[in-house]
C-alpha cells in the first residue's frame, strides 16, 4: 500500500480541538440547575400553604441537614471516585460520636483529645477497609459491609443508648451560627473545598481519578494503586468521623445509631450519585456531591414544611434519584466511546 503514502497524512489534517471551552450540560451543571429549580418550586409550594421556605429557620434547617450528610458524602465521593465504595460509614458515625463524647466526659479540657481520638479511630477503620480491599482483594461492597457488621456487633454489645457527655463549650460547634448559616456547615464547606483541591489539583487526586478510571492503566503507568485506594478509604472514614463528632456536639452525647438512623450509608451514596459522580469511579467530583447533598436536604425541609407523609417523601426521593441517574446516563450515551 505504498500508493497511499504520498497523500497528506490524515493525522495532521484533522483540525486540533478548539481550545474554547464550550458550555456543556455536565451533571454538575444539571444538579445545580435542579437545586435552584427545587428551591423555586419548594418556595412556591410552601408559600401556597402560607409558609416561607427560605426564611431564617428554613435556611438553618437546610444547612443543618446538609452538614452531617455533607461530611459523609464528601468522603464517599473520594472512595467512589477510586472505584470503591464504603458501606461502613453509618456505623462509624455512631462509633466516633461515642468515642468523642465518652473521652470528653463533660470536661472542657478533654475536647481536643476527644476529637483527636475519634478521628484516629475513624482513620484506623478506614485503614482496615482499605487493606481488606487491596491486600485481601475482597470486593469493596463486601469488605465494607463486613466491617459495618463488625462495628454493629461492637455497638450492640456495649451500648444500649446514648452515652458519654459533651461539655457545653463543645456544643457551640453544633449550634453557633453566622446569620442563618451554622458554623458547622461552613466547616463542612471548608472540608469540601479542601477535598476539591485535593482531587483536582494534587497528585494524589490525579491518581484517585486514574485508579477509578482504570486500575490496570493506572498500575501500568506507575501509579501506586493500592496506596491510592487505602488513602481514599482513610480519608472517607475520617470525614465520617468528623460527622460523628459534629453529631455528638449537637446531641450533647454519643449515640450508637445516630448514623444508621439517618441512613448515612445509602444516603451518602445517593448524594454522590445524584451529584453526577459515576458509581463505577473515575468521573465526577465534590462540587456535584455538595449539590446533591443540598438537593436532598432541601427536599426534606420542603416536605417537613408541607407536613407530607414520610412514605410519600421516600417515593419522591427515589424518583428524583432515578431521574437524575437516567439523565446522566443519556448524556454519556451521546458521547462516542
Amino acid at each position: 500500500m505504498s500508493s497511499t503514502t504520498e497523500k497528506p497524512l490524515p493525522v495532521r489534517s484533522v483540525p486540533a480541538q478548539t481550545r474554547t471551552r464550550r458550555f456543556t450540560l455536565t451533571p454538575t451543571v444539571i444538579v445545580y440547575v435542579a437545586l435552584v429549580a427545587l428551591l423555586v418550586v419548594g418556595s412556591v409550594l410552601v408559600g401556597l400553604q402560607g409558609g416561607v421556605l427560605l426564611d431564617q429557620a428554613g435556611l438553618l434547617n437546610i444547612f443543618t441537614r446538609a452538614t452531617a450528610l455533607g461530611l459523609v458524602a464528601i468522603g464517599q465521593t473520594i472512595v467512589i471516585l477510586t472505584g470503591s465504595l464504603d458501606l461502613s460509614v453509618a456505623y462509624l458515625v455512631g462509633l466516633t460520636s461515642l468515642v468523642a463524647a465518652e473521652t470528653m466526659a463533660g470536661q472542657s479540657g478533654m475536647i481536643v483529645p476527644g476529637v483527636l481520638l475519634a478521628l484516629a479511630v475513624a482513620a484506623v477503620v478506614g485503614l482496615v477497609n482499605g487493606l481488606v480491599i487491596t491486600v485481601l482483594k475482597a470486593n469493596a461492597f463486601i469488605a465494607t459491609l463486613g466491617v459495618a457488621l463488625i462495628l454493629r456487633g461492637y455497638l450492640e454489645q456495649n451500648y444500649t443508648g446514648p452515652a458519654g457527655d459533651v461539655p457545653r463549650t463543645f456544643q457551640h460547634l453544633g449550634y453557633d451560627r453566622v446569620g442563618p448559616v451554622p458554623v458547622a456547615a461552613l466547616l463542612m464547606l471548608g472540608v469540601a473545598g479542601a477535598c476539591w483541591w485535593l482531587l483536582s489539583r494534587s497528585r494524589p487526586g490525579y491518581h484517585i481519578y486514574a485508579v477509578g478510571g482504570d486500575v490496570e492503566v493506572a498500575r501500568l503507568s506507575g501509579v501506586h494503586t493500592r496506596r491510592t485506594i487505602v488513602t481514599a478509604h482513610v480519608l472517607c472514614s475520617v470525614a465520617a468521623g468528623m460527622a460523628g463528632i459534629y453529631l455528638a456536639s449537637r446531641l450533647g452525647s454519643g449515640a450508637p445509631y445516630v448514623g444508621t438512623d439517618a441512613g448515612f450509608d445509602l444516603e451518602s451514596i445517593a448524594a454522590v450519585v445524584l451529584g453526577g459522580t459515576l458509581l463505577a469511579g473515575g468521573r465526577g467530583g465534590i462540587v456535584g456531591t455538595i449539590g446533591g447533598v443540598f438537593i436532598l436536604a432541601t427536599l426534606d425541609t420542603v416536605f417537613d414544611d408541607l407536613a407530607v407523609d414520610p412514605f410519600f417523601k421516600d417515593v419522591v426521593r427515589g424518583v428524583v434519584l432515578i431521574t437524575a441517574v437516567a439523565l446522566y446516563a443519556r448524556g454519556m450515551v451521546r458521547r462516542p466511546r
Partner: protein
C-alpha cells in the same frame, strides 16, 4: 537523547510451574527497529513484560548499556529509560492528553500539580514528533484512534525513554492509520530510539524492521537481519512447519447455490444505496477504510442498527430484521470485530460461551442440547484446558474459535464476520480461513470484512468496496490491492496504482 542498548541473556520465566520463557536472548541497538515474532503463546508478551519490569525473570540477566539491572516494578524500568506501548490502550479516555502523558509522574510545584508544565512538556514532545495537531488539553476520548496511538507513544517518551517496546501497536489501527504509525516509527528510529516491535503482521515487520528475532514455545529460534529472511523462512521458524498455501481454494462456479441474502437499496444513518447479494457457498469480501460503513453494513444486516430503507430478503423471502434476536432467529450469525467486548462473556466458560446463542435463540428442548459440544469445539479446533475453562484465559486465536463455535451451534445460513483474524497468530489465522471456506462449502453465505487486504483478497470470491457509506464498486476474485485501495479512497480503479 543518547542511544541506549539493551541486552537480555538467558531469560527464563515460569508461571505456576509452566515455563513460558526458556533461556531467551535478545539484543537491541540504538536506532534499531527490532521485530519480535512468534505465534500466540510463544512468549513475546512475557518477554516484553520482563523488559518492562512487570514480571521478574526466574533466571537471566537484563543489561542496559552494559549495566545489569533488576527491576522491582514498572517504575524501575521506566527510570532505566524503557517505555512500553501495551497492546491495549493504557489511556484514560476522560482525562486530557497531558494528564494521560504524565499519569503517575505528575510534576508538582508548591504541593499542587503543575498543569501548565504538563501541557507545555506534552506540547513539546508532540512537536518533536511532528504531531503538533494534537491539543494537549483535549480529552483523549475526543481523538481518533490513530492519534490515541500517538498519545500512547508520547506517554512512553515522556519518561525519557530511549528504548520503546511496542506490543502489536497496529492491532487497533485501520490500514491508512498503520501508514502513519510506520512514519512515526521511522522518525523515532532516526532520533536514536531503540525499538522492539512485536507484531503478527508480516508486511509490517518486513517494511519496518532492521532485525528479526523469532520465539517459539518460549524458546529462542533465530535472530537475523530482516534483509536475509523471506516471509516463508519466517513462517517456518514461527510455526515449525511450512504453510504452503496461505489461503484455501476459492469456490468454483458450480459450488454456488441460490441467493441466500439479498439487500436492495439498503440504507440507514451510516449506509446508503446498498445493493448486495450473497449466494450459498460464496464468500463476499467487504473492503473500505475505517468509518466507510464497512462494519455498519454487517451491523445493519444483524439488526444492531437496522436498515431504515430498502428490503432484506433471506432465501427469497422478504424479512424485517429489527434487532439481533430477530436476526439470529432467521439464521444470521455475526462475528463482531470486538471479540472481547461483544463476542464473548470473558469470565464465563468455554462451554457457556459456545452454547450462549443456542440457549438464547432456540426454544424448548433444542435449546438445551449440549451433546454435540465436544464435536463443535473439535470442529473449530479450540485448544483449551477443558470446556469449563474461562475464555479470558485462552489465546486470541482460541477465543475467536469459540466465537465461531458459538454461531455454528445454531447452524446459520448467513455468516457475517468482521475482522475475523485481528490479533491472532499465523497458525490460528489459517485455521479460521479454512473454517470459513469449509462453512461456505456447506452452503453458508459469508460476508467477510477485513482491513488486512491480502487476507480479504485471498479469501473472497467477490469484493465489494465501500466509500463514505456507499458501495464504490465491486471487484472480482483476486483483484489487486491497488484496485481495492483506489475504490476505497474514492479514486476509482487503478488511478492511484
Amino acid at each position: 537523547m543518547t542511544g541506549t542498548s539493551v541486552r537480555l541473556t538467558g531469560i527464563s520465566k515460569s508461571f505456576l510451574g509452566v515455563p513460558v520463557l526458556r533461556g531467551v536472548d535478545l539484543e537491541l541497538a540504538p536506532g534499531e527497529v527490532h521485530a519480535l515474532m512468534g505465534e500466540n503463546g510463544a512468549g513475546k508478551s512475557t518477554l516484553l513484560k520482563v523488559l518492562a519490569g512487570v514480571h521478574r525473570p526466574d533466571e537471566g540477566r537484563v543489561e542496559i548499556d552494559g549495566v545489569a539491572h533488576t527491576f522491582a516494578g514498572p517504575a524501575d524500568a521506566q527510570r532505566a529509560g524503557i517505555g512500553i506501548i501495551h497492546q491495549e490502550f493504557t489511556l484514560l479516555p476522560h482525562r486530557s492528553v497531558a494528564e494521560n502523558v504524565h499519569l503517575g509522574r505528575e510534576p508538582v510545584r508548591r504541593l499542587r500539580v503543575d498543569r501548565r508544565r504538563m501541557v507545555r512538556e506534552t506540547g513539546e514532545l508532540l512537536e518533536w514528533l511532528g504531531e503538533d495537531g494534537i491539543d494537549p488539553t483535549a480529552a483523549v476520548s475526543t481523538l481518533p484512534v490513530a492519534q490515541r496511538q500517538v498519545v500512547e507513544i508520547v506517554k512512553a517518551l515522556a519518561t525519557d525513554a530511549t528504548v520503546l517496546a511496542m506490543d502489536e501497536p497496529t492491532a487497533a489501527l485501520a490500514d491508512h492509520e498503520v501508514e502513519l504509525l510506520y512514519d512515526l516509527v521511522r522518525r523515532l528510529r532516526e532520533r536514536g530510539i531503540a525499538i522492539l516491535y512485536v507484531s503478527h503482521r508480516m508486511r509490517e515487520v518486513f517494511d519496518l524492521s532492521d532485525r528479526i528475532t523469532v520465539l517459539k514455545d518460549g524458546a529462542f529460534v533465530v535472530c537475523a537481519p530482516t534483509a536475509e529472511l523471506t516471509s516463508e523462512d519466517l513462517v517456518r521458524h514461527m510455526v515449525g512447519r511450512d504453510l504452503s498455501a496461505l489461503y484455501p481454494d476459492r469456490a468454483r462456479p458450480e459450488d454456488l447455490g441460490e441467493t441466500r441474502l439479498r439487500i436492495t437499496g439498503g440504507g440507514n444513518a451510516r449506509v446508503r444505496d446498498l445493493d448486495l447479494q450473497i449466494r450459498a457457498g460464496e464468500i463476499v469480501g467487504l473492503a473500505g477504510l475505517q468509518g466507510s460503513g464497512r462494519s455498519a453494513v454487517a451491523r445493519a444486516v444483524f439488526g444492531v442498527e437496522p436498515f431504515t430503507t430498502g428490503t432484506v430478503e433471506l432465501d427469497g423471502v422478504a424479512r424485517r430484521i429489527a434487532g439481533p434476536r430477530g436476526a439470529v432467529r432467521h439464521g444470521i450469525a455475526f462475528v463482531t470485530e470486538d471479540r472481547k467486548g461483544e463476542g464473548l462473556a470473558l469470565r464465563q466458560s468455554v462451554r457457556d460461551n459456545t452454547l450462549l446463542v443456542r440457549r438464547s435463540a432456540l426454544r424448548g428442548a433444542r435449546s438445551r442440547v449440549a451433546a454435540d459440544l465436544t464435536a463443535l469445539l473439535e470442529s473449530v479446533e479450540v485448544v483449551a484446558r477443558g470446556e469449563h475453562q474461562e475464555v479470558r484465559f485462552l489465546s486470541g486465536g482460541n477465543q475467536q474459535k469459540v466465537v465461531l463455535a458459538k454461531w455454528l451451534a445454531v447452524d446459520p445460513k448467513v455468516l457475517l464476520v468482521d475482522e475475523p483474524t485481528r490479533g491472532i497468530d499465523v497458525g490460528a489465522k489459517q485455521t479460521v480461513h479454512q473454517l470459513l471456506r469449509a462453512l461456505a462449502g456447506r452452503g453458508v453465505a459469508i460476508l467477510m470484512i477485513s482491513s488486512e487486504l491480502p487476507e480479504l483478497i485471498g479469501m473472497s470470491d467477490r469484493i465489494l468496496v465501500m466509500h463514505e457509506g456507499r458501495p464504490a464498486g465491486e471487484l472480482p476474485a483476486g483483484a489487486s490491492e491497488a484496485a481495492v485501495v483506489g475504490l476505497a479512497t474514492g479514486h476509482g480503479i487503478g488511478e492511484v496504482a
